[in-house]
């Protein structure tokens, strides 16, 4: 699997994602600096978490308009898999690769904790090694994770099964209390129309190290790797 991770000034989770992908695939991904405008042949591009460009203007706005993201969008149009985590999800919405926007958490606090996510589909490129309806527990670390889309967009996402993860209780119920940041419909992660681009606020890569108590994030990376073999 040929994977690359985009690094902006302020990105800070690139090594965590690289470790998670390496554990799943046995291959170390390459890192691409934001000024680069030429990418090698790739199967997967990851836009990792952090605070690209200091979150100036809006989270992901500067990165979303950077030269490297134009190239990423071209690759996405050709069907290359794209994974955006946390700030990476914000960047993907700013580039228009995913609909909606991530707003400030409804509680106005930075959230750094473990959350439950209900897996809504297990027939996608990013979730084939998981089980639909299962709840996985992975960390979140964000201040702007409050997913917003207008009613029409939201209906389209729901009707076409593009919501992959929802904030949920341990028993799988999707409740107001489980919705840590005020996201519409408890949305934590969505796919593009083709199912080749995934954006999500929680950090599956930070739940993949065997020394950790829970490694629930492993399924996502296993799915990606298996779908590319």
């Amino acid at each position: 699997m040929r994977a690359a991770i985009i690094v902006f000034p302020g990105t800070n989770r690139e090594k965590d994602i690289a470790d998670a992908l390496e554990r799943a695939s046995g291959v170390r991904p390459s890192f691409v600096w934001h000024r680069d405008t030429e990418l090698p042949d790739l199967d997967l591009i990851v836009v990792p978490g952090g605070f690209s460009y200091g979150d100036y203007l809006r989270c992901g706005a500067m990165a979303g308009n950077s030269p490297v993201m134009r190239v990423v969008a071209e690759r996405a149009a050709k069907g290359v898999r794209i994974l955006g985590v946390c700030n990476g999800f914000q960047v993907l919405t700013e580039t228009g690769l995913l609909p909606g926007a991530l707003m400030q958490n409804a509680g106005l606090k930075f959230l750094c904790k473990q959350v439950g996510l209900r897996v809504e589909r297990d027939d996608t490129l990013f979730s084939s090694a998981m089980t639909k309806g299962d709840v996985i527990h992975v960390p979140v670390a964000h201040n702007e994770g409050n997913y917003f889309a207008d009613d029409d967009t939201l209906a389209r996402l729901e009707d076409t099964g593009r919501v992959l993860f929802r904030y949920a209780e341990a028993d799988g119920s999707v409740t107001e209390t489980a919705n840590i940041n005020g996201s519409r419909n408890n949305i934590a992660g969505i796919l593009n129309d083709a199912g080749t681009v995934l954006g999500m606020m929680p950090h599956p890569e930070n739940a993949t190290d065997p020394s950790q108590r829970r490694i629930d994030g492993t399924g996502l990376f296993k799915s990606v790797v298996e779908s590319l073999q």
Partner: protein
């Protein structure tokens, strides 16, 4: 030429910071505050003195970078 761009959250989009300010004002005894919305102000100094051209250029800037049309509205005022 100088212009101000005011960016605000669209009507109907929840503004938690505005709500927090609204509550704080109430707590300080400022009565009669119906609603507070918080936005941002961007000051731009542009070459030239063609107002229409400046307006068009800033519109393009807003559409491309300054505002996110999914959640934000913007207003442009040329001030000098």
């Amino acid at each position: 030429m100088k212009a101000n761009v005011t960016i605000t959250l669209k009507k109907g989009v929840l503004d938690p910071q505005g709500k927090a300010i609204e509550h704080a004002l109430g707590g300080l005894g400022f009565d009669g505050v119906n609603e507070v919305r918080q936005g941002k102000l961007i000051e731009i100094d542009l070459e030239g003195d063609d107002v229409d051209a400046a307006q068009a250029q800033i519109e393009a800037m807003c559409a491309k970078l300054l505002a996110n049309p999914v959640i934000e509205d913007y207003a442009i005022s040329i001030i000098e």
